[in-house]
Symmetry: C2
Subunit: 504 residues, 2 copies
């Protein structure tokens, strides 16, 4: 069946999805606005508005019309075009996840999360995990009940959560992957970083005014393919990307007068997310396939930008003269080599979001092990702070002074997002493998050094972005790179970078 | 019946209105976003989204549930609380206006307006009224047909349109009011301005960078009562105010490096609109009474701010030192008297939106006379440019060189907003009368000169703002000032100002 001969049922299906997409579009804009320009007194009314749209969306997503259509397609797949089938599979998956939860339990859970996030904020203020613990226990209890509704026989409990962020991902796959990653990082540290010389990075904290930082971010993300006719760069407390649709993908950053790297790499990172969403082919507009295919693949695109372009010595060969031009005299005494080394310092740190690329995956592995223990081994949650400290000491050689530097640092658990953290490390590995595959076909270093970014952008659009959510992560990465995911390319790249930075 | 014993019917009614208010809130945010931060490529999808919400709103506004409730309340008013009755009257009026139009005609009209606005833009580019004329003819024809659905026996055709922007307003009331206004302006011009000496206003065009202008605007609108916890000040091509609800009222301005007055008075003007919406009492939240009561009263609040505060010599007595502090050395050679006179220059001009307060009402009177002739005397629209030029020559002594400076300058007719223009002049007169009434009770000049603005803000909140749309314009102005609307206070004030500026 061709697109032009779309069945009446598929047309209904598409119309329903479009209505859902329009609501999502509005909810996303409200979300963006809430983090950027919304006046502070507006909070309560805004929550009602978002709640109203979410309720409408839920009604459409799980209502009788949707149920009837999905049943119809299940009985007779020939009612769908090829594209329609791809859309159907994703919609069906979302539908089952939502529809299998008893509505009362879901509503209670939503309320719990809203309270838990406030308590988390308060617990951070008091530096007391104990304050947050009762809520975390309730969230885990609810989550375990949900897992019992979703679970199939083959999957472990934690697999169910992993799959929701990274379809197809399991503990059986992650354990060896993370083990290889961890020992590889340890080897780089032992062989290159520790015996090497810590580069000078004092100059990274020189004063650069916010307007200059903003111009830098604008100029660089644009060069890297971010399309300002289809997006904007604004300021928010925590940087994020929100895509309304491929023609409106907004990124934010934040500025610190004495830390230009934070805003610059932050913008480059978010622009990687945005590039993905801006370049999905039009045929997936107004369907759940218009976004990225998984959290891990999405993160791979931001990390590709940040780690493999934005921190890349070859990238700075082209960009540093421009950088110096825009920053006036501030860095006139810093040569390219010094700059690149200062840009790529690694040292163990307590806060995940501030970690450098080499130590970052260790933060994730700690969280992965804890989550796995919570869901697959019924870990007693009272032990979390102790275990957290122990693992940080073991893997990074440092121990948090308090819970805010430790187990209270991330909002994810308060938001019910268990199983999410591994996506960040997967993003690193996917990005490394993609970068390697790209190098096999293009002279990446020369292109970067010449500022000839378009072939690099086009390659990712062709291999990754255009497909949106229409390919599963495994299939996508296999098709794009020719092999299943491995940690070796990421490790090999980091080895080269840190050799350059530490062994000179 | 007390609020606490609200009937089930009124509760249903309130819930329905709340849903409409939430949709309006979202539509307003989309509108604000469209004029501020939306990426340019987003246009098409955005139009669909707004269309979707408008359609939902229309269904709620005129659907069977609303119809049944309004019929119920018409049959038995005792089902409503006192507040409920006020809300009902406004909802009923809006309902009748919408419900009386055949849906097909309304849909066709909406499409026509959308085309007409594009053609208007194109006609401006080509400076050709003839290009826009066929669309204007269609709009007028549609409007006349609509009037036949709405019209009562007493009203003239144009009265029907006037009433939609200013409830209770008629040609019979406006004719003498505008006649008094016009001759009063002519006398001020003849007696004070023309024999006087044109003040120096060259310094008004000195370079002031946009950041400084932004800080000036922020500081001054805040002093004048604009609450930044309930609003924001952003940049757009045309300044506007959009109120989502009393906790989120956003204003915009625009900056010209060589015309600080434009952004400053523009911000002060919009902040007057915002002050109104921020201060409506909470009990009208989520009802159509949460906004202003009419276009004229709304405009009176912005013009009060702009003309009676922002251009007031006493206001600058307090503000000028602050202004000089924020602008550095730029105006160090300009003393207060010179500044105030430069700020209040009057001269005839062709563009309404750039006119000074004294000549502005003449621009409105011209449009009023033309609209009245179109609807009450079947004026041939081909004659518009000729009549426009003739009236400008007669009332202002100048003639447009082309249609863009003439009959094509305003978007109102392309948007179907006939009967709207008089609101602007009414806003001037209301503001003048309100200022006079305030002076009877407060020593306004001293308060302004001391920067003691709070009593002036409180007075307006108590007399005007808090009521929102719950009082008709006539009743509101009578209660606030003790007498029906007249032109005399506005004229008397202008006479004082221009005497000070021109006769020194």
């Amino acid at each position: 069946m061709t697109q032009s001969a779309m069945s009446a049922a598929e047309q209904d299906f598409r119309a329903l999805l479009k209505e859902m997409a329009l609501l999502e579009n509005a909810i996303s804009l409200l979300d963006w606005d809430g983090h950027t320009y919304m006046p502070s007194a507006e909070g309560t009314q805004r929550a009602e508005l978002v709640g109203y749209f979410n309720q409408r969306h839920f009604q459409l997503e799980t209502g009788s019309k949707m149920t009837a259509l999905l049943n119809l397609f299940e009985a007779d797949g020939s009612l769908l075009t090829v594209d329609g089938q791809a859309i159907y599979r994703r919609v069906k998956r979302n539908y089952e996840r939502t529809a299998k939860l008893p509505e009362a339990e879901f509503v209670a859970y939503t309320k719990l999360l809203s309270q838990a996030q406030n308590v988390w904020l308060s617990a951070r203020k008091h530096q007391q995990f104990a304050e947050f613990l009762p809520y975390l226990k309730q969230i885990v209890t609810a989550k375990k009940r949900f897992i019992s509704y979703w679970k199939t026989d083959e999957a472990t409990a934690y697999d169910v959560l992993l799959d929701q962020f990274e379809p197809g991902m399991t503990v059986a796959k992650l354990d060896p992957l993370f083990s290889e990653l961890q020992s590889g990082i340890e080897r780089i540290n032992a062989e290159i970083v520790r015996p090497g010389q810590q580069p000078n990075d004092q100059f990274m904290h020189r004063y650069v005014d916010q307007t200059t930082q903003h111009h830098l971010s604008e100029a660089i993300v644009q060069e890297l393919g971010f399309d300002f006719t289809k997006g904007s760069l604004d300021i928010s407390m925590h940087p994020f990307t929100i895509g309304m649709n491929r023609n409106d993908v907004r990124i934010t950053t934040r500025y610190d007068d004495h830390d230009f790297q934070m805003s610059l790499l932050g913008s480059i990172h978010e622009a990687g997310h945005a590039l993905y969403e801006q370049n999905v082919v039009a045929k997936w507009d107004n369907t759940p396939l218009a976004g990225g295919t998984s959290m891990g693949i999405h993160e791979s695109q931001s990390l590709f930008n940040e780690v493999f372009l934005g921190r890349n010595p070859a990238f700075w060969q082209h960009t540093y003269p421009r950088f110096r031009e825009l920053t006036g005299e501030i860095f006139s005494d810093i040569d390219l080599d010094t700059f690149v080394r200062g840009f790529n310092v690694t040292r163990p740190s307590l806060i995940r979001t501030e970690a450098d690329p080499l130590t970052y995956p260790l933060h994730i592995i700690i969280r992965y092990e804890l989550e796995k223990a919570i869901f697959n081994e019924d870990l007693d949650l009272d032990e979390l702070p102790m275990l957290w400290a122990k693992k940080y000491q073991q893997y990074l050689g440092i121990t948090p002074d308090n819970d805010v530097e430790g187990v209270l640092q991330d909002i994810h658990w308060a938001g019910g997002d268990m199983g999410y953290f591994p996506s960040y490390a997967l993003g690193h590995l996917y990005a490394g493998q993609i970068f390697h595959a790209m190098q096999e076909e293009l002279d990446v270093e020369t292109l970067l050094a010449n500022g000839d970014f378009q072939p690099l952008i086009d390659w990712r659009v062709q291999r990754i972005h255009q497909f949106g959510g229409s390919k599963e992560p495994n299939d996508l990465i296999l098709a794009a790179t020719g092999e299943p995911l491995s940690a070796k390319y990421w490790l090999a790249y980091q080895r080269t970078v840190y050799e350059r930075v530490y062994q000179y």
